[in-house]
C-alpha cells in the first residue's frame, strides 16, 4: 500500500519501514478493536436506520410491503411533493415553530435570571434552590406530563382550584385551541430551565471577578456590568444552550402526546407527532421518513444559522 514511498527509500531502510508499517497496522487494528463496540452499535442501530429511512422516503413503503420489503415501489420525490400540499403537516410545522420561538427564549431567559440570582444575590438555601430547579430535568417526562394533565384539569386541577379561591373561573386549559399550546410551553419551560440554569451557573463562575472589578471602577452599574461583561463573556455558553434547546424543542413529542393527543383540533400537533402518526399509526413509513428528513434539514439549517450569527466574531 505504501509501495511508492518505499521504492524511493534506500534498501537498508526498507526492512525498518516494513516493520514500522506493520506496527502501524497493528496499532490501527487495536484501536479499531477498542472502538468496535461503539462503531458496530452506531452502525447497526443508528447509521443504518438513518440510511434506510432516507431510502424509504423515496418509496411508498406501507403495510402491504411488510412481508416483502424489497417489493416496495419507488415513487421519486412524490412524498416530498405531497408534504408541500399537506395542510396538516404545515399546521404541525407552525405549532412546532410556535413552541420553539416562544419556548426557547423563555427557557434561556429565565434560566439565566435564576443562574445570576443563585450565583450572586441569593446565598441562603442556595443548594436547595438548585436542586429544586434541577429536579424536573431528571424526572421522567411522561410522569411530568401526566401530573401536569391533572394540574390543568378544568374541574379538579390544582391550578383552577386555586384560581377559584380568588374568584376566577379558570378555563379548560388543554381543551382550548388558544391556551393548549401556551400551557404546554409553560410546562416545558419549567421542566427545562433547570438544565439551562446549571450550564449558566458554570458559565458565570468562569468569568474572572477582575472583569467586574474593572467595570465597577469604570463606573458600571449592575445592568451595565451584565450587559457589557456577563453577556459577552457568556456568549459561547448561550450559543451552546441556544442550539441544544432549539434542537430539543424542535422534536417536541411526549408533552402533547401524553397531555392532549395533538388536539384540540390539531392545536398542539407537532411535526414529530404527525410523523409518528403517519409512520406507526397508519404505517405510511415512506411518507413518515420524508417528514423526518424535512425536519432534519430544518434542524440542520437552524443550528447552522445560530452558529453563524452567534460566533465570537459575528
Amino acid at each position: 500500500m505504501t509501495a511508492p514511498a518505499l521504492t524511493q527509500r534506500g534498501v537498508a531502510d526498507r526492512g525498518t519501514a516494513q516493520v514500522a508499517t506493520r506496527q502501524g497496522w497493528r496499532r490501527d487494528l487495536t484501536g479499531w478493536a477498542f472502538a468496535a463496540p461503539f462503531v458496530i452499535l452506531f452502525g447497526v442501530f443508528l447509521a443504518l436506520p438513518i440510511l434506510v429511512s432516507f431510502v424509504l422516503s423515496f418509496t411508498s413503503f406501507g403495510l402491504r410491503d411488510l412481508a416483502n420489503p424489497i417489493g416496495a415501489s419507488f415513487v421519486g420525490v412524490d412524498n416530498y411533493a405531497r408534504l408541500l400540499s399537506d395542510d396538516k403537516f404545515w399546521k404541525s410545522l407552525f405549532n412546532t415553530i410556535y413552541f420553539v420561538v416562544v419556548g426557547v427564549p423563555l427557557t434561556l431567559g429565565i434560566g439565566l435570571l435564576i443562574a445570576s440570582a443563585l450565583s450572586r444575590g441569593i446565598t441562603r438555601f442556595r443548594t436547595a434552590y438548585r436542586v429544586g430547579y434541577y429536579l424536573p430535568v431528571i424526572t421522567s417526562i411522561v410522569a411530568i406530563a401526566v401530573i401536569w394533565r391533572f394540574l390543568l384539569n378544568p374541574d379538579i386541577g390544582l391550578i383552577n382550584v386555586v384560581l377559584k379561591q380568588v374568584g376566577i373561573n379558570g378555563p379548560d386549559w388543554l381543551a382550548s385551541k388558544t391556551l393548549a399550546m401556551p400551557s404546554i410551553i409553560a410546562m416545558a419551560v419549567w421542566r427545562n430551565l433547570g438544565f439551562a440554569m446549571v450550564v449558566f451557573i458554570a458559565g458565570l463562575q468562569a468569568i474572572p471577578a477582575m472583569l467586574y472589578e474593572a467595570a465597577s471602577i469604570d463606573g458600571a452599574g449592575r445592568w451595565a456590568a451584565f450587559r457589557y461583561v456577563t453577556l459577552p463573556m457568556l456568549r459561547p455558553t448561550i450559543l451552546f444552550m441556544l442550539v441544544i434547546t432549539t434542537i430539543g424543542y424542535l422534536q417536541l413529542f411526549e408533552e402533547p402526546f401524553v397531555m392532549t393527543g395533538g388536539g384540540p383540533l390539531d392545536a398542539t400537533l407537532s411535526v414529530t407527532m404527525y410523523m409518528y402518526q403517519q409512520g406507526f399509526t397508519f404505517f405510511h413509513q415512506g411518507y413518515a421518513s420524508a417528514i423526518a428528513y424535512v425536519l432534519f434539514v430544518i434542524v440542520a439549517v437552524i443550528a447552522f444559522l445560530q452558529f453563524r450569527f452567534l460566533r465570537e466574531d459575528a
Binding site: I40, L63, R64, A67, P69, L174, F280, T281
Partner: protein, 437 residues
Amino acid sequence: MHAPTRAARLLAAFVLTIAVAGCGTNSGSNAPAGASGAAPGGSTAPGTSTGGGTASTAPLSGTLTVWAMGNEGTKLNVLADAFMKDNPDVKVNVTPVDWGQAVTKLQTAIAGGTTPDVSQMGTDMMGQFGAGGAFQTVPADIDASGFFQSAWDTNKVDGAVVGVPWYVETRLLYYRKDIAEKAGITSPPATWDDLKAMAKAMQEKGGAKWGISLGTKNWQEYFPFLWSNGGDVVDASGQPALNSPQAVEALTYYDSFFKDGLTPKSVPEGFDITPAFVKGDNPMFFSGPWHLGLIKDAGGADFSSKWAIAPMPKKVSGTSFVGGSNLVVFKGSKNPDAAWAFVKFASDPKTQALWYKTVTDLPAVQSAWTDPDVASDPNVKMFGDQLKDTKAQPVSGTWSELSSAINDVLEKMTTGGTDPKAAADQMQQQAQSIGVK
C-alpha cells in the same frame, strides 16, 4: 503477529454474522416460518416441533402458539387447557399481548416471519393486516350462519373470509333511571326525538349538569346514528357515501346535542365517564357491555336501582355498532390443522359459554346465548337482542387512517362549529382520497 490476525478474523466473523442476521430479517419472511428456528413468542417446548402437514383424520399433535390481547390474553389459559384436554398431543403456548403494543408486535412479527399460529384480532384490525395477505382463508366447514351476521362480515377481506368471530360487543344507552323519573320520564327513549327530549328534561328538570355525554371525536358513536337513519359508510357499489342526505341529517341531529349545550364540548384527556355517571353529572351515555361491571363496582350495592340500559333509539332503524375480536390463522403457521381445530373449538357454543363465564366476553355464536349462564342476566340479554341489529365499519386496509380523519372532522363540527353539511362533505372527500378498500 498472530493475535491481531485472530482478532481481525473474529471481527470479520462478527460483522458477517450481523450482516447475515440483517438479511435474515428481510428475506426470511418469504419462506414459511420453519426456517427461523425457535418458535415465536418465546415457546418453552424445545424439541416438540411438529411434522407439519398431518392428515386431517390423524389425531392432532405438535405445538400451537396463540396470541391474545389484554384481558383475553391473561385468561386464555382456561381455553387452552380445555383444548389440550381434548387433544392431549397438542401443546398450546399462550402469549398475552398488551393492546397498546398489539399493532406494533403484529407488524414486527409479519415483517420478521415470526407470526404465531393463531391470534386474536380486533375487528378494526382485520383490514389493516388482512389486506396484506397475512391470514389463511377460513376452511369451508366453518358455518357462517351460526354467528351474528355483522360480526361474520368483519372477516371479509377482498372477497375472502380470513377470520372467525370470537366474541362481540355492541353499544347501548346507559341512563340514570332516578334522574329521568325526577324529570318526569318513566320509560327509556324509543326514538331520536325521545332521546333529545330526555336529555333536555334531565338537564332542565332532573338537576343534572349535562343531559347526555356524546363523543366529540368518536366515529363509533356517530355511526349508529348514521346507520339508524338508513345511511351507511359505503353505498351498495362500495363507494363512500358519507355525505348522503341521511348522513347530513344524522350529523345535524348529533351536532344538535352540542349546539344546545346538552353534552360537553370538551372532554379532558383521560376523562372517565363512570364516576361522572354515578355522581349524576352525565346521566346518559352510549357504551359497551364492560360498563355493566364498571358501574356496579363504582356505584355500590344501593346504586343498582338507579340506572338501566336501553337499546339504540330508533329513527328508520335502531342499529348499533358491533365490535369485538376475531380469531385468525396466519399463513406462516406450521401447524394449520391444529390451529383451525383450536379456532373451531373456540367458536363451539359450549366453549363460547365457558368463555363468557371466564371473562364475560359476549358470545359471537348465536346459539350460545341460550346457555342459562348467558341468558339469565336481563342486562346481558339486552345486548344479545341489540346484536341482531348491528353494523360494523368497512373492512379496509386504510381504516385506521380514514377513521382518524373522520374523527378529526367530527371534532371540527362538535367543538369547532363546522356546519354538519360541510362536515359531511369533508368526510366524503377524505374517504375518497384515502379510500375504503
